[in-house]
């Protein structure tokens, strides 16, 4: 290939400010094999692309180098333009003179010299590029949703309604997530259960949804369109097919005093239980740690009383394998624990608030359970210590959040709003009570949000004190709150009956482990990372995996539901096709030289390498070599770096290309 076109982009001023683009174009023109060069203000624009197409036709170009931004930004754009101009897209490469050059240098002469080097290297590479054909892979039109909170439920319903199969995997015995625990919801104060439970029922009744509760993801393999997922269904000890959900077992279980974590341990449950009456599915599980039968081998009451004979103590974990084409991760959040911090935790904890040892200092979710009509108190707000009605309640915002010195610098986004909500719920139930709120700022962007917050002050008479709380301690039956009011610059001390901490929203424990199984990335707090903060907010960088809800970052219900529907739309777009085109950047084995040491198989992170036997015509084994399954290969190049005999190479990144680039310097 000897007719190469070099197109140098100014990127507005992003490149031309530090790089003499005209000089780069002129120098490129002297390179052996370059038939045409030019520079242009915005190569990626429509006129820029047309310029490229026209040059290909006029100068019979056979290879293209676009000297502009990172290939991550526009490689696709220019390869499509090349294709439209009749050039195999893989004969078009980008020379990154923006991120790798103009943005990181100041000296114009040096930057220009470097840009010329970068272009020269890419010209040498393109000379050795081969025409590659895209690989097509079939799409399995079935989606996996991990997590059955409102995010997972919404995605599942949307995808299932579009006619595709959905597998929903939930770790707990019931779907619902946090929303099932809430009382009433901002900004409209409708009852959470009333809007949530019908959706939960829709899930279990939907013909296109397979629900695995009390289940976890064991392993994920494969790639977009073709994932194989192993799901571990934990032993429920109750046969779901036989159980009618009558609840006799729960009524008769002699173990009655097990703290119910769904109610934040304010209430109790038996050892065979559903977490809450509206649970979906309405099939109990046996908590084997607390069940007398499992502890001592005696009891067996639930089995005796169960009419249909559904209780089965011998049940074991079951592994189900599902083939899916797309994955939506919706594993939600957990609240910052106010208890003592485990050793080695990066998060500091609040010794000054008593580390959760003061009984009447609770978190927001516990308050939700107290205020909920279906909660342990039937919606009556009482203090955990003595069951008395609290006449003064102090709410403290930003506990854990926006506290760099405590280990978390982000804003948890929902606490301003739910604290405002809590003051209202409190006032609605305890008319003569007084709510105080310590806050740093009130952050209320959102439709109807600021109005809602104002209402809590103006109509429900909550007293907002701008400032931080420095200490909480028990004094008699009161909790003393020591804080400051920065507006008037005084120290404030309130003797409260109840203190509610709006603790930070954190990703679930184990979010990182799941991410590693899925091969997706996460930030330093373990929130999952989207592919692009602005333009691709629901996709992971790993193709075929999407994000919904609070697992990506703190979110309220409207945001969660919007993102869940967006993720569903992305899945449907994927499922609208029967086949997917994959970039043919995959490894190929040179079978003549491969000695079958299979070092490549050992290092391949995608499990793409197999053993292949080469036989002669009469079937005698000549040798065993490695074979790369192009559908599975992720194009990482690890095998290429490992192979001692250099018998495996990545198309588009061959040693010959790379060496030519180095030698061009």
């Amino acid at each position: 290939m000897s007719r190469i076109g070099v197109f140098v982009c100014h990127c507005g001023e992003n490149i031309s400010r530090t790089v003499d683009v005209e000089k780069v174009a002129a120098e490129a023109g002297r390179l052996f094999g370059v038939a045409y060069t030019c520079d242009y203000k915005y190569m990626c624009s429509d006129p820029g692309q047309n310029l490229l197409k026209k040059a290909v036709a006029e100068h019979k170009l056979e290879g293209i180098v676009v000297a502009a931004c990172s290939p991550r930004m526009h490689e696709k754009t220019f390869r499509n333009a090349a294709k439209a101009a009749g050039v195999n897209p893989f004969l078009c490469e980008m020379a990154n003179i923006r991120e790798h050059c103009s943005w990181v240098h100041e000296d114009r002469d040096e930057a220009t010299a470097k840009a010329i080097d970068i272009v020269t290297m890419m010209v040498e590479r393109v000379k050795r590029n081969k025409k590659l054909q895209p690989i097509t892979v079939p799409v399995t039109k079935k989606a996996l949703i991990i997590g059955g909170g409102i995010a997972g439920i919404q995605s599942a319903l949307d995808i299932a309604d579009s006619g595709h199969q959905v597998v929903l995997v939930e770790r707990e015995p019931s779907i619902g997530g946090h929303m099932a625990q809430l009382s009433e919801t901002f900004p409209t104060l409708d009852c959470s259960q009333c809007i949530m439970t019908p959706k939960m029922v829709d899930v279990v009744n939907h013909p296109n949804i397979t629900l695995h509760t009390y289940a976890e993801i064991e392993a994920v393999e494969g790639y977009i369109g073709n994932f194989q997922v192993k799901v571990r269904k934990k032993a429920r000890s109750v046969d779901m097919a036989k159980c009618t959900g009558c609840g006799v077992c729960m009524a008769k279980c002699p173990q009655k005093k097990i703290p119910n974590s769904f109610d934040k341990n304010l209430g109790f449950r038996p050892a065979i239980y559903v977490p809450f009456p509206q649970a979906v599915p309405n099939t109990p599980v046996i908590d084997r740690e607390n069940c007398t039968w499992f502890k001592t081998g005696k009891c067996g009451v639930c089995q005796k009383v169960c009419g249909p004979g559904a209780v089965d103590y011998t049940q074991e974990d079951e592994i189900v394998v599902e083939q899916v084409g797309a994955v939506v991760v919706a594993t939600g959040f957990q609240l910052y624990d106010i208890g003592p911090k485990p050793a080695g935790s990066a998060i500091e904890g609040y010794g000054e608030f008593g580390y959760g040892t003061i009984p009447d200092v609770i978190d927001g979710l516990t308050f939700e359970r107290l205020a909920s009509a279906s909660g342990p108190t039937g919606g009556k707000i009482v203090r955990p210590s003595d069951g008395a009605e609290p006449k003064s309640v102090v709410f403290v915002q930003c506990v854990g959040s926006r506290a760099r010195e405590k280990g978390i610098s982000y804003c948890s986004k929902i606490c301003c709003m739910y604290t405002a909500k809590h003051t209202m719920l409190y006032k609605h139930k305890v008319h003569d009570g007084q709510a105080y709120v310590f806050f740093m700022d009130a952050r209320t962007p959102g439709k109807g949000y600021d109005e809602f917050w104002r209402r809590s002050i103006e109509e429900e008479e909550a007293v907002y004190i701008r400032g931080m709380v420095s200490r909480l301690y028990q004094k008699g039956d009161k909790v003393v709150v020591m804080g400051s009011d920065v507006h008037i610059g005084v120290q404030v001390e309130i003797e409260a009956d109840l203190v509610v901490l709006a603790t930070a929203v954190q990703p679930r424990e184990g979010a990182d482990t799941l991410a590693q199984k899925l091969g997706i990335s996460y930030d330093k707090y373990h929130f999952y990372s989207e592919a692009h903060a602005k333009l691709r907010p629901v996709e992971c960088a790993t193709a075929g995996i999407y994000l919904a809800g609070a697992c990506q970052g703190p979110k309220d219900i409207p945001d969660t539901v919007s993102q869940a529907s967006a993720a569903a739309a992305k899945v449907m777009t994927l499922f609208a096709r029967n086949e997917l085109e994959r970039e043919p950047i995959v490894a190929k084995v040179n079978e003549r030289f491969c000695v079958g040491c299979l070092a490549c198989r050992k290092v391949c992170p995608y499990g793409a390498v197999e053993e292949k036997e080469i036989r002669d015509r009469s079937g005698n084994l000549i040798k065993v070599v490695a074979y790369v399954n192009p559908g599975v290969c992720g194009g990482c190049g690890t095998c290429q770096a490992t192979c001692p005999s250099k018998s495996v190479e990545l198309d588009g990144y061959t040693d010959e290309q790379i060496m030519a680039m180095i030698e061009a310097l």
Binding site: Q516, R592, F593, V595, G596, C597, L598, A599, K602, V603, C604, P605, E611, K623, V624, T638, T642, P644, S645, K646, S647, D655, E656, M659, A660
Partner: protein, 315 residues
């Protein structure tokens, strides 16, 4: 390398009876295997034409097997004959092999690297007293003065996981660990001194590639150092190419080389190749607690993908 003159002992380390009994045991088993048709050939040693020498052979008949011996001159690592590179040997069918400790380490490596299947080879292990060093005076018996350096500090004299063990090990005195001393001397150098040390040695390399040809692990059908499109390593014996070759050799053998020191023995330029090999092995032991060739291992530290690989060095 030892600057100070040192007096070496010339007392034989093992008596004649030991060598004869090992040879006897090998012959007996080889004859039996061939007579019963259990194997197509036995890879072993026969006496060379000159006294004090031996050479590898593939005995294919019971009569040939009666000639097999074991003596201090049996220096070659016979595992070499089982690598795929030696197609004509493997083509004969299932083979038996006479294996010293270092040959066994190589065999374990070949098993782990899919070059060999355990069921395709019958291993006659040797309880090995040691062999001659490269420049030994072979008119002397095996003694402090004639024994190979690697054998002075050998840890694999008693074979394991073999089908048969030939001979019993005589009581051997502890010998001064010259290789370890040399390694310690090298490690005590400044990086500049060390670089000068290797530069001097590499500069003498004539690129005959005897070290590669003798190494049981250099089994590639086309060595990357012979490739010319693209050329990774300059082929003429000039400093740049020599250094590249020796770095490639050291890196490709790290975590694999079992320390047979055959490369060093055959090097016509006396380049201390095994010193480099030992240094690499030591690094792997320290970094990954890994030792090559003790058992056939499916994955070595440098050929393994782990989700929790330490990536802290990526900044």
């Amino acid at each position: 390398m030892n600057k100070t003159a040192r007096k070496y002992e010339s007392a034989a380390l093992a008596d004649e009876g030991y060598w004869t009994s090992v040879s006897q045991a090998i012959r007996q088993e080889a004859v039996r295997l061939l007579e019963q048709g259990a194997v197509a050939g036995v890879v072993g040693y026969i006496a060379g034409r000159r006294t004090g020498t031996a050479m590898p052979v593939v005995a294919a008949t019971p009569d040939q097997a009666k000639e097999l011996i074991f003596s201090p001159a049996c220096v070659n690592n016979l595992a070499l004959y089982l690598t795929k590179a030696k197609k004509e040997v493997r083509a004969k069918g299932k083979l038996a092999i006479v294996a010293k400790g270092c040959d066994l380490r190589a065999l374990a490596g070949l098993l782990g690297e899919s070059q060999l299947k355990r069921e395709d080879v019958y291993i006659i292990g040797i309880a090995c007293a040691g062999v001659y060093g490269a420049h030994a005076d072979r008119s002397q018996p095996l003694c402090d003065a004639t024994i190979a350096r690697k054998c002075r500090e050998c840890t694999v004299r008693e074979p394991t996981d073999t089908d048969l063990v030939a001979g019993t090990l005589p009581a051997l005195p502890a010998l001064e660990p010259l290789e370890a001393q040399e390694l310690a001397r090298l490690e005590a150098m400044t990086p500049q001194e060390r670089w000068a040390f290797w530069k001097e040695h590499f500069s003498r390399c004539i690129r005959c590639l005897a070290c590669r040809q003798i190494c049981p692990f250099c089994f590639c059908e086309q060595c990357l150092c012979d490739r010319n499109r693209p050329q990774s390593v300059e082929t003429t014996p000039r400093p740049a190419g020599n250094t590249a070759w020796h770095i490639v050799r050291a890196m490709h053998l790290a975590g694999r080389c079992g320390g047979c020191a055959e490369c060093e023995r055959v090097c016509p330029m006396d380049i201390p190749l095994n010193l480099l090999n030992r240094k690499m092995a030591k690094e792997l032991k320290e970094l990954y607690d890994y030792e090559a060739g003790l058992t056939p291992q499916e994955k070595g530290p440098l050929t393994e993908y782990k989700e929790d690989d330490d990536e802290s060095f990526i900044k």
